[in-house]
């Protein structure tokens, strides 16, 4: 088990495959069907790149993710909590996550996850309407967004301007197919990049294939 350049994230070699792991915050508990690895007294959870865009981005050598232990994260599109559980491992018990999703069905799973992990606050709200949940959260260190919506860049910028602290990092996972199925993904990514650069400082972006097709992860910083 070796450390990576990102605090809280570890890597290991399985055969010829490089895998990422995070320290399990709740010992002995699995969140989805991931493998648990024990080394010494610590337990690590294997991070599945096919299920998590953040993991895929790190494996593709993105140069910054901005999430570190002790951070306060706003996670838009938390779904049932696969990636949030790893983010919760990274920020640790000193950090905190506001996990937001729109569909009651998946937030139900998120609530059960949050019962185990006291550093996730599940929120049922529409990311497109920040004013409806502004009374439920505070300013945050990092905004992470992974929602498959047509206007996801707009939603992202709206949330960043209201909730992200100055100089805070913001990550955006874009699914080209949910913006326009007919357009070439590279054109869509170009458009998104232009939109982002208007309001944010773009740090890095990486395509997520082969883990996720037609996806791109953007890392920005608030100006």
């Amino acid at each position: 088990m070796q450390t990576t350049k990102f605090p809280g994230i570890f890597e290991s070699q399985v055969g010829r495959k490089r895998i990422l792991l995070t320290k399990n915050l709740v010992k002995g508990r699995k969140v989805y069907d991931e493998y648990l690895h024990t080394e010494g007294n610590t337990e690590y959870r294997e991070w599945n790149a096919a299920k998590s865009k953040l993991c895929a981005a790190i494996l593709k050598n993105i140069n910054q993710i901005g999430i570190k232990p002790g951070d306060l994260v706003l996670y838009l599109g938390a779904s049932s909590g696969t990636t949030p559980s790893h983010v919760s491992d990274i920020v640790g018990s000193d950090g905190f996550i506001f996990g937001l999703d729109f569909a009651p069905r998946v937030v139900r799973d998120l609530v059960f996850l949050a019962k185990d992990r006291k550093n996730i606050a599940p929120i049922l709200a529409d990311a497109n309407k920040p004013e409806t949940y502004a009374t439920r959260i505070s300013t945050v260190d990092v905004v992470y967004m992974d929602i498959a919506q047509k206007n996801q860049t707009e939603i992202f910028l709206k949330n960043c301007s209201l909730f992200l602290k100055n100089d805070g990092y913001a990550l955006l996972a874009i699914k080209a197919r949910s913006i326009d199925v007919t357009k070439r993904p590279s054109l869509i990514f170009e458009e998104v990049r232009k939109l982002l650069e208007r309001e944010m400082k773009l740090i890095d972006y990486k395509a997520l294939d082969p883990f996720q097709l037609d996806h791109m992860m953007f890392v920005c910083k608030k100006k």
Binding site: L72, D94, F96, F98, P104, V107, R108, V111, A114, K118, N119, I120, A121, P122, I123, L124, P130, E131, A134, T135, R136, I137, S138, T139, V140, K158, S161, L162, F163, K165, V181, T182
Partner: protein
């Protein structure tokens, strides 16, 4: 000069001055405090006379003021409070979110799944039973009837019924080898009666929740439309052209991507108007049907009066 701002969130009611320093607050301990926040707000407003209150701040989320207030709450000491309040509120919202849409979607999915399971098991039963009495199994098409009959009558009676006096291919089985087959048949019969019960339940639900859709499309197809649209609210805002091809998403996206021929209908295909029609009329009827369904969905969602029979009659008149 009152330059104060009053902001209420899950944690409490807070008054900030013009430089965004906290000057007064009331903390909330439970979600009930937050639900009754108007009372607390009034109390604070009376003493501090704020320039803007929560309501006005939220109306303009992009004004710089809210962005100056929110950092105040970014503090490790608030985390556990945020956790418990958000847990309580989300639990409440999830409970509130359950409605007839969910019942209908679960019921229709269940009816379809029972159908699938019963079919699979019935095919197995026939395979098994044909060792014993193949002539009868082949003479009857409907699984449901087949199961019913082999349970109620003996092999001899059944053979007499199909006027097949001599048994040509079936083996004579011992009672202990017949009994397992009949046990399976009993379970399948149970499944069919369960399906009937759930279909009745679905019909009742649709009758109270979306009468007009049910009148035009029938309970099963109406429910399938709801399932694809996820909710009546969404179905009511969908254009008729989308309703027409709900359930044919794969063909639609293939059409958009590769310019293949567009689908004419999705779940509507099993509607009697369409399945009865000639091939060349089907697209037209699907379009007309979807038009009327779009109207019906809107009427149902906004709790209008019953116009389903009129809409149905219009289509019938047009295509008879």
């Amino acid at each position: 000069m009152a330059q104060n701002y009053l902001f209420t969130n899950l944690l409490g009611s807070f008054v900030f001055d013009g430089q965004f320093n906290l000057i007064d607050s009331i903390n909330f301990n439970t979600l009930d405090d937050y639900s009754n926040s108007a009372k607390h707000e009034q109390k604070l407003a009376a003493t501090h006379k704020p320039k803007l209150t929560t309501q006005q701040l939220l109306e303009k989320p992009n004004s710089k003021i809210l962005q100056q207030i929110l950092p105040y709450f970014k503090d490790k000491t608030n985390f556990s409070h945020f956790y418990s309040q958000n847990m309580a509120m989300t639990a409440y919202l999830i409970k509130q979110a359950v409605n007839e849409d969910d019942f209908i979607i679960q019921a229709i999915n269940n009816v379809e799944e029972i159908d699938k399971v019963a079919n699979t098991l019935a095919k197995r039963l026939r395979e098994w039973y044909e060792l014993y009495n193949p002539e009868f199994s082949r003479s009857i098409e409907s699984h449901e009837m087949f199961v019913e009959l082999i349970l109620s009558k003996t092999k001899q009676e059944l053979l007499k019924e199909i006027k097949h006096d001599e048994n040509l291919l079936g083996a004579d089985l011992k009672k202990q080898d017949i009994e397992p087959m009949l046990n399976l048949a009993r379970s399948i019969r149970e499944l069919y009666s369960l399906k009937q019960k759930h279909t009745d339940y679905l019909e009742n639900l649709m009758d109270t929740y979306c009468k007009n859709i049910k009148e035009i499309a029938g309970a099963l197809i109406g429910a399938k439309l709801l399932e694809h649209a996820k909710s009546l609210r969404h179905l009511a805002v969908l254009p008729a052209s989308t309703i027409q091809i709900l359930g044919a998403e794969k063909a639609l996206f293939r059409h958009i991507k590769t310019n293949s021929r567009p689908p004419k209908y999705g779940v509507l295909i099993s509607h009697p108007f369409i399945s009865r029609a000639k091939q060349k009329d089907r697209g037209k009827i699907a379009r007309a049907l979807a038009n009327k369904l779009a109207l019906a969905a809107k009427v149902d969602y906004y709790k209008g009066e019953f116009i389903g029979d009129k809409l149905r009659a219009e289509i019938e008149k047009k295509f008879s």
